[in-house]
């Protein structure tokens, strides 16, 4: 067990060292959310406050999914993923390591937006500990989602394109720009099936922004459930892909 944990940790550190400065990660993971935030701020500097929960969650989603597209798809293309598969490392350890590399990036990028909001825009944090808990589990969810997409495709650009296919609709469905309550009734079931909805909802409570539909605790439990579900699905898909390839 210790062996697995230690090797997973080294895998995460290697990915951080190797890939955090890759161009697709900088453009999709940092620049895109940065530009979006700036655009909303310039349009309505006073109203940005209500958007902070959604913007933090969006930044985390784009950060995590972009990391996964690089650490899994890129490594498979250059053949170094095969190196990991030949090492004494379980498939679950490999996937966990990859997901955690995305979690770290997601947390750091979300934290940057959060600190800017708190320091410069006067956002108030309701409870730092609960917010930290929500951010960690949300980052895990997003990163696992990115890993799930990445194990299914071959190329980095395919992973990015496929990610965008669900990332962009999620921005509009999950309460990032407007609360869930104002969503047309027919789209609500779809919104409820997406983890970003619960992350944004929980962050509204944590950042003292009105409009949260569920309690913090319930959001947290649902996000944990999503994180586990997507991680298991990713490991299973990865094993199936390996069987097909090898």
């Amino acid at each position: 067990m210790m062996n697995h944990a230690a090797r997973t940790y080294y895998l995460v550190m290697k990915d951080v060292k190797t890939y955090y400065l890759k161009p697709p990660l900088i453009s999709w993971g940092l620049m895109f959310p940065g530009v979006m935030i700036l655009a909303f701020y310039l349009k309505n500097p006073t109203g940005i406050h209500d958007l902070i929960p959604g913007l933090v969650a969006m930044t985390m989603l784009f950060g995590a999914t972009s990391v996964e597209a690089v650490v899994i798809t890129f490594e498979r293309r250059v053949g170094s993923l095969e190196r990991l598969l030949m090492a004494p490392l379980s498939v679950t350890s490999i996937i966990l390591g990859k997901v955690l590399a995305g979690v770290l990036f997601s947390l750091v990028s979300g934290l940057i937006v959060l600190l800017i909001a708190v320091v410069f825009l006067g956002s108030r944090v309701h409870g730092w500990i609960s917010l930290a808990g929500i951010m960690v589990v949300a980052a895990f969810c997003f990163s696992a989602l990115g890993a799930f997409v990445s194990v299914a495709v071959r190329e980095v650009f395919e992973a990015m394109t496929l990610s965008n296919l669900f990332r962009f609709p999620m921005l509009f469905l999950c309460g990032v720009f407007f609360p869930l309550a104002s969503l047309p009734a027919m789209l609500k079931p779809l919104a409820l099936a997406l983890p970003l909805t619960y992350a944004v909802d929980a962050m509204r409570t944590s950042l003292s922004v009105p409009g949260a539909a569920l309690s913090l605790q319930l959001n947290f439990v649902i996000l944990v459930f999503f994180a586990l579900l997507i991680t298991v699905a990713t490991v299973k898909t990865f094993i199936r892909r390996l069987d097909e390839t090898y």
Binding site: A6, L11, G79, R83, M86, A87, P88, L89, Y246
Partner: protein
């Protein structure tokens, strides 16, 4: 203390099927769909041996390594590496072997030393030892001065050297090498062969695949010739050559139409096989005396002008051609195309 310090102690683990072989394989098969890539192969590699898998691309060499290294599940058959079952004891197999893949697939962004340290971490080399071991290997492979350079900045030969060093970090007892010298220039390939011999002299068992006949001849204690997923013959290079030496090889150099001539000569009684390459016709014959009269008449009939004629000592290449019925040219064209 040896330079590469492979681990040769602690060989007291259980034996595969009652033998003390480093690798033991029985009926190993891998099918992709209905197509068998490796088809019921049986072989065993003795401890301390350099064992070569010789064959063209697509013969099933890499697939065999992948099954033995725990990357691929066999469709059928059994295999043991260092006494561990390749299906049920994958973890132990992986921990006790080093694999040098055909591509130099280390991390381009990481420095040489960081690459080796990462491999040490993956294979559970104790923290205190990692850095020292990395320096030791960098020194052994003549890369110490460039230890801080990123892997992607290296030449092809240097990349290959580091890829081998990376497989040795945890001091494995068995080293698998897939096409170790493919893509290297002659000097780099020569250096690498020297390294392989040295690793072996220090106690390592080496299993290597190659489509270079001379490489198999120079390096391997025993060679298995594999074509289309089946092992055709297993023997020492010497014995394989001896097998061919029972025959004679006659080399004719002609001015033109060598191919046409080669076909015409194939019909002569006593000619076992002909091969043509670059204006030289090779005849594999049972006896010079039996063939000569008819040979002269065919040459005369075709109006062929000979520039030289000689009998040659069979090389491993000749043995390969004789045994597989395959032109040596086929192997060479594979080399030019490189691997997919």
């Amino acid at each position: 203390m040896s330079r590469f310090t492979m681990r040769t102690e602690g060989m007291e683990h259980k034996d595969a099927g009652g033998t003390a072989n480093a690798i033991e394989v029985r009926g190993l098969t891998k099918r992709f769909g209905d197509l068998p890539a490796v088809d019921h192969v049986d072989f065993s590699v003795r401890k301390g041996e350099i064992y070569g898998f010789l064959g063209p691309n697509g013969a099933g060499k890499t697939t065999t390594i992948r099954m033995l290294a725990g990357l691929m599940r066999p469709s059928e058959g059994k295999g043991w590496v260092q006494g561990y079952d390749i299906e049920t004891e994958q973890w132990k197999v992986k921990q006790s072997i080093g694999v040098v893949p055909d591509a130099s697939n280390l991390y381009g962004e990481l420095s040489l030393k960081d690459n080796l340290i990462f491999m040490g971490q993956l294979y559970g080399v104790p923290r205190r030892e990692r850095s020292r071991r990395a320096d030791e290997l960098l020194d052994d492979f003549g890369l110490l001065q460039r230890r801080k350079a990123p892997f992607r900045a290296l030449s092809r030969g240097m990349k290959r050297r580091l890829t081998i060093a990376a497989a040795l970090v945890h001091r494995p007892r068995i080293l698998f090498m897939d096409e170790p010298t493919t893509g290297l220039d002659a000097a780099a390939a020569r250096g690498l062969r020297k390294t392989i011999k040295q690793l072996n002299s220090e106690g390592a068992t080496l299993f290597l695949t190659t489509h270079y006949i001379e490489e198999a001849d120079q390096l391997c204690h025993r060679v298995a010739i594999i074509v289309k997923g089946k092992i055709i013959v297993i023997d020492t290079p010497e014995a394989l050559k001896r097998q061919t030496r029972a025959e004679e090889i006659l080399e004719l150099k002609v001015e033109k139409a060598a191919q046409e001539l080669s076909q015409a000569l194939a019909g002569i009684p006593g000619v076992l096989k002909t091969a043509e390459e670059g204006g030289v016709v090779k005849l594999y014959i049972s006896s010079l005396n039996d063939v000569m009269p008819e040979l002269v008449s065919v040459l005369r009939g075709k109006g062929a002008t000979l520039t030289s004629i000689r009998t040659v000592v069979p090389s491993l290449e000749d043995a390969f051609v004789r045994i597989t019925g395959m032109e040596a040219e086929k192997l060479r064209s594979d080399q030019k195309e490189g691997r997919p």
